[in-house]
Symmetry: C2
Subunit: 342 residues, 2 copies
């Protein structure tokens, strides 16, 4: 990877394992991160699915330091650092940048509602200025079903104009493709091809918050997905991502490619088929019959790693009941789901 | 005040002054708290109107220590200590209890939405057990317009059954009188009269989150209000509170009163008139033409204390524009509003 290239592709909002006393379990956390990397999956640690907002500042700081100390590559990390308090967001972001993380995924301050675009602009502006580091790459995190406070095109426009280097992109977890398309059309239109390097600072990289939109995102100028199910199904999601980029390279017949795929190889790529397979897995995990997708993901890891400790979640979430766990197990078995190498 | 009596009456969610660099201004904060106490107003520091969720953990801890060190009476304090993280809520709550605060006002964990009653029960249960102090008095904070996650009667029932001493009451900021009435009817029905002492542990004290419901609350078994406008209009709100308790004492003709008010005195109490006066003030501050009520409250203090520094708010909030400030000033002048002794 070229040093200055942006992080792209498939990332997992890494689920955070807890011990019986609810303390973060760094040993299992590091092991899961290493497995995800082995599946070509980047690490959006401290995301919504990481229960990061149930972690204290100290716990997040400690886990990030432990990951780096364990040799996990920070250039493959995009930690969540958005907090309601500017001061806390700055502290976590500084730590991430100082550790060489590829970027940070930043929630808007989510307690106060009905805030103005001006207020949100000032929040992010304060963070960029107080971090004061040219290496900072912020990915704005739009997840209105949870944070309620969202990211608007007007906000992105103002932030990009003021901080074209620091504002690197966004994750759209609205679950609304029309919204993603609006941001893609407004900010991500550019020539297809490999991730730009020197011009990278001027592009806006859109990740979709669900792998179910990965194909649509890649066809419309997006750069990948940061998806909950990447915690359990990373290889298949990465396969679609690679197929999309290969197809795009071929169709654009770019002359500057070092490794142009043959017509024969790309013609065989059934993108819709790969997307459909991902959707089948996601459908199991996102079923309303489970208390939360987070609990279901952890339950699946517990099953496939033969490690019941993985079931634990922090309140206000609750782990799956035995009955729900059995249902999940049989549904995953029915679709021949596996987690190779876990 | 009897040592074990519960805190009741009028409390202000104390607005937090900031310096130009957005650091908390403890000098102005302490002065405002002392002024509020001089107006018979208790201190619900670190509430929604305090911009507490825009403060870091360290800033809240520091401000509380500074208040106590400045001689502000902790038995008149009910700091907000609810956080998304159990660990942080425990830390702040321990500090408050250790400092002798009358109680803590606790938001539910507000990031994850659609959580179950079981999950919220586990959250509060963990906090009570981890704080592990018989002096702990929790007031559950129901503010669905902001936190979205709310407090249900089912949750209160379970918590009261498990922790009858620690679960002391609630603040209802739903803005929906029917909701307050539901909680009053379910948990607050008891003989009128002075605050119970030995039996105090078994009662559930309902504060309304707006002084506009104070009269209704007092007539239906409530114990007071924790209201934003108490920051600027504490004496008038306290006057209604006292009038309600006097009237209640008289009407119940309790034989054990040491100071029964005369029929003549209480007959003159025009409770509706006092409530109507409060509503006029509140209407000015809650007008949608201001960016937020918090900014309007701070602007009013800036005006009446001749101290423009009070205007500052932290992003994502924005201070009033000059035009809005002028409008506020003239509207307050029109209703002959004053802040005596500020």
């Amino acid at each position: 990877m070229i040093a200055s290239a942006r992080i792209r592709g498939v990332l997992a909002p890494v689920v955070t394992p807890f011990k019986a006393d609810l303390a973060p379990d760094s040993k299992r956390f590091i092991a899961h991160c290493k497995w995800l990397l082995s599946q070509n999956c980047g690490l959006a640690v401290f995301g919504t699915n990481s229960e990061a907002n149930s972690l204290s500042m100290e716990e997040r700081a400690m886990l990030l330091d432990e990951l780096v100390a364990a040799g996990v590559d920070p250039s493959r990390m995009m930690p969540g650092t958005g907090c309601c308090s500017i001061m806390e967001a700055v502290k976590l972001t500084k730590q991430a940048v100082g550790n060489g993380c590829a970027g940070v995924l930043m929630l808007p301050p989510f307690y106060y509602k009905d805030v103005t675009e001006e207020g949100l602009y000032r929040y992010f502006s304060e963070v960029v200025q107080r971090v004061g580091d040219a290496r900072l790459r912020i990915y704005l995190y739009h997840i209105p079903p949870v944070a309620v406070v969202g990211i608007t095109t007007g906000l992105v426009e103002r932030l990009l104009a003021a901080y074209p280097n620091a504002i690197a992109g966004m994750k759209d977890s609205s679950g609304d493709w029309n919204n993603t398309k609006t941001f893609l059309d407004a900010f991500a239109v550019r020539a297809a091809g490999p991730a730009p390097t020197t011009r990278a600072a001027r592009t806006f990289d859109v990740f979709v918050g669900s792998d179910s939109f990965l194909l649509a995102n890649m066809r419309n100028g997006g750069v990948g997905t940061i998806s909950a199910t990447a915690n359990v199904n990373p290889a298949a999601i990465h396969k679609l991502y690679v197929a999309c980029t290969e197809k795009s390279k071929f169709e654009n017949r770019e002359s500057n490619l070092e490794d142009p795929p043959s017509r024969k190889a790309t013609a065989r790529l059934d993108l819709e088929g790969l997307q459909a397979k991902l959707n089948v897995v996601r459908q199991v995990f996102s079923s309303r019959k489970f208390s939360s997708m987070i609990a279901a993901l952890k339950q699946a890891i517990a099953i496939y790693a033969h490690d019941p400790a993985w079931r634990t979640v922090r309140p206000p979430l609750v782990e799956l009941t035995t009955e729900q766990a059995n249902t999940l197990a049989s549904e995953l078995k029915a679709i021949a789901f596996t987690m190779p190498g876990l």
